[in-house]
Symmetry: C2
Subunit: 367 residues, 2 copies
Amino acid sequence: MGEVRAVGMKVQIRGTGLIGTSLGIALSRKGYAVTLSDPSPTAERLARDLGAGALVTGGGDEPDLIVVAAPPDVAGAVVQCALADHPSSVVTDVASVKGVILTHLIDVGADLSRYVGGHPMAGRERSGAMHARGDLFEGRAWVIVPTDVSRTSATDLVQQIARDAGSVTMVMAASEHDKAVATVSHVPQIVSSLVAAQLRLIDQDAVALAGQGLRDVTRIAASDPRLWTQILAGNAEAVGGVLRRVHGELGELIEALHGLMPESDGLGSLDVVARALTAGNSGHALIPGKHGAAPAAYDSVTALVPDTPGELARLLTDVGEAGVNLEDLRLDHGLGQPFGLAEILVVPAAAERLRRALERQGWRVLE
Amino acid sequence: MGEVRAVGMKVQIRGTGLIGTSLGIALSRKGYAVTLSDPSPTAERLARDLGAGALVTGGGDEPDLIVVAAPPDVAGAVVQCALADHPSSVVTDVASVKGVILTHLIDVGADLSRYVGGHPMAGRERSGAMHARGDLFEGRAWVIVPTDVSRTSATDLVQQIARDAGSVTMVMAASEHDKAVATVSHVPQIVSSLVAAQLRLIDQDAVALAGQGLRDVTRIAASDPRLWTQILAGNAEAVGGVLRRVHGELGELIEALHGLMPESDGLGSLDVVARALTAGNSGHALIPGKHGAAPAAYDSVTALVPDTPGELARLLTDVGEAGVNLEDLRLDHGLGQPFGLAEILVVPAAAERLRRALERQGWRVLE
């Protein structure tokens, strides 16, 4: 990839919500000349006041790059306008679905040589410019989605701004991207919402039995319904494909469970259930570990931490002083108890050493 | 509840896997006279060597309480034998399903006045005596499930050992318990496994797009298929009921998404999707917060943490020195970056103060 100089490069951002404003702040700091526009005058002035760039004015030079950060359901039309209005500018977008936008651009005969799609994997549970931050993209993946005819220089430019915003880039085709996010993001969102929704139908006493498992499975059920409705609508085909498979497998499980009830013969039913759970084990093992490295199996050392300020810090200081690198940390909250459990994940070779070191420091380490 | 003296009370534990052995260790430490038996001579001797109690011998007094800690699929038969072998002992069990056991005992005409079911919410991803620990039950809920005719003294005794093991007890009927765990535990396990299983069908490149959402939803997909097959088989009716509802709602969503594809009219489809996501929001909000307290909304302050030993400890020390109590902590791993994001959840009133304090200490705090 050819290096492109940031300083003085002109980037226009259309749409100043969370992503557009955050990107404006990040690129302005890197020396890009960023201009902003949004259908809402309030929103674009707020973004400007947050340091995301200057407002677009009538005159001035053509932008080198236009970033469309509009909601997924209008992104295609805004990209189309941007390509038409600025016949020498490269145009990208940041929508979390890519196929519908590409289809729209092909349908309207847009100049695809200057268009390169993109998708920064950097959502938040909140939206809007007021929650924007210049480091939103730090360390996140940003999928770059060139068309078959995108110019190499256009792809390079989009990669450059993604990296300058702090992201790690990877290149995929639109259909490949949409299938991937259907499986790793959109379908998990749907099932999380469905599982959480069932809690409305039981007593609060019953909900109080919730353990860490339920909390983990339903955390993203708190996401914004309006945004997610657009995302799912924009990826209806790929999401539908994965959902139909899940729906079919769920149907088999329901039948298998019915076969396990006292009045049934249950022939072969246990096997269906066991195979579904084992397939879950295999799928889980494919998820990359820390920092995108190969999946790793860590050992865990769990200590009891009193619920008073500074105790967790003291524990982790002792972990550090034992010369052990903490790979992950998970806090578990007891029910009605004045302490929590801190599960420290470390490489297997270090687990026993860490356990002994913490015990020497007076920690109550679970066995 | 009448107080019962632990010292010298005779508890016999049948089944020395993870739960039975852990309970033996906990109760032995509290002064109970614990005896152990298991169909596997190796397993019972291992439990004894771990300090869970003495082996059951032919002679001796009747136990005050027999705890059946056998796998769910044989627990009913073992409880039946225990009630018959020891006509003056109270009998409980720790299986994670309660209805099938009760039905079995009614069918065989067992003495239900001396039986009280139980379910400590204290599983681990690992099983077997070698992973047992005396503090497995600390701070966990332990559901006590009396029958309609259980003697009050029997219920009191079972509550006593649950509390002495460190648990917080709550009383429920068997059917109520089974419906509750179907929704808060068994169905989340199934959907987590199904979502994880889909990852086997996409490229490793696509799996690499996994964010924290997928990691959370699929964490429990790593659970033991053999144990879970038994649990699901033992709660087939209640799990089937909840799963059929999820299956139906999933079917509606698939149809709605199909209605949103370009060739359809999509009338009313967006609304179906939006309502499902909103119902997920409502369900999620019902989950109790830390320590079983009422659900609370915390503010989050996120800091960049270099991936070197001791840095997270230093961050949390600075949090403590700012006089702010950390309510929860979540680590997020960047993709291919030498640092992580630490999201610190605190009460809203403390967020701004914490942010400023961390910045003064030189931390890079996300905006």
